[in-house]
Assembly symmetry: none
Amino acid sequence: MADILLIEDDVAIRSALSRGLRELGHAVSSSPTAFEGLRLAVDDRPDLIVLDLGLPDLDGVELLRMLRAVSRVPVIVATARDGDSEMVPVLDAGADDYVVKPYSAAQLDARIRAVLRRAGAEPAAEPLRVGGLRVDPRARAATLDGQELDLTPREFDVLHYLATRSGEVVSKRQLLTEVWQLPYGGADKTVDVHLSWLRRKLGETAAEPRYLHTVRGVGVKLAEPS
Amino acid sequence: MADILLIEDDVAIRSALSRGLRELGHAVSSSPTAFEGLRLAVDDRPDLIVLDLGLPDLDGVELLRMLRAVSRVPVIVATARDGDSEMVPVLDAGADDYVVKPYSAAQLDARIRAVLRRAGAEPAAEPLRVGGLRVDPRARAATLDGQELDLTPREFDVLHYLATRSGEVVSKRQLLTEVWQLPYGGADKTVDVHLSWLRRKLGETAAEPRYLHTVRGVGVKLAEPS
DNA sequence: ATGCCTGGTTAAGGCGATGATAAGAGCGCA
DNA sequence: TGCGCTCTTATCATCGCCTTAACCAGGCAT
């Protein structure tokens, strides 16, 4: 599934997680120390790193910053402390996610998949094109037939999400969880509102769609006008 | 003269060189181990590193590669071996120069000056242009429509950073870590203040931007006025 | 045909992000 | 050691965006 580097000093946890993750299909290398871990991170270039905070030889945040200096490899931090406040500096230092001990390999696997999914979706820094529509993630700007569109952040996110899946039907639920990052709770009228605003700015109506097509009972899709 | 980091395990050589280089006007920090040295390289960002190959805890070439992963800081390698063939992999790994033991502080100083001269001359310090804005890293000066702008050091750094990424949205967090070199800690009001000052000196307001556009919820971007 | 359900639009309020200013701290330089 | 320039921090005003709510319009099933 993925190359995982596990940096964890407790030998029991380390071997248990290694075994567990391997059974779930990952390739796992591990290190009991920060420095050795850093070396492995540089040499082996794992797809993802699981980093325990309570290392003996170096503060976890410190190591995290060094890792970040070296690469943008996703890092999941594991910690015994459970206060959320403890996690703020860690996340600020560039961690992608965290788990609180005790945690199982299966739990960790779920996080790993989520983080990798997110990370994998990212490197789309190239402008996207759908017909006369151009969506540029780097500039966070969109143009329609050369005309710059004045979009709000959320509108841009929605358009961008649809543009990366142009031609594909996307459910509102999907938008809510992916764009809004909300656990789907039914309050999806907000999505409707934003789609409406988008349509207006795209110069079209729901009755006369050009790019943004409603698929009744399913969702919406972004497609080239025919 | 320069911030030098000396990574050398032999205590006699280390202290002798430290003293010698200090007398020649350099600021010297040092480490007897590779890992500690790496940490200092990341944290202190020296102007140049002098690296001994015969370290106890990690192969020199290995460390060199890790250093290169972290930064492009010039590295002079010191070695006891005298065969030139030994040096090929070292130079391939990204060393800028090397000296063979035994060597004096004065000798080293000459190398240091040569490397820094080369390194300092090199970085494509071409003036950047964004519309009527010109940012000259070499002179650390900027002009707007031919008019020289009176910028403070920090203001210039911010403008320069944005100019190298013109058209791209840059987050405040990014500015804080890249320009201020701070581990993001949330104190990003400072960034706002500097942006505000920049805007004033660019003759624009946030409400009527010409070059410096805020992208709400994300950051700012420098772009040509339309 | 009619009522329900899905989807669309509009309006209004609250919240959070941003912008500007001023005061204080730090620092280098004289 | 003192002065002045910069940078930082704090505060407040402002503005834009998102959400919520209410209402409207079609289509589909009964």
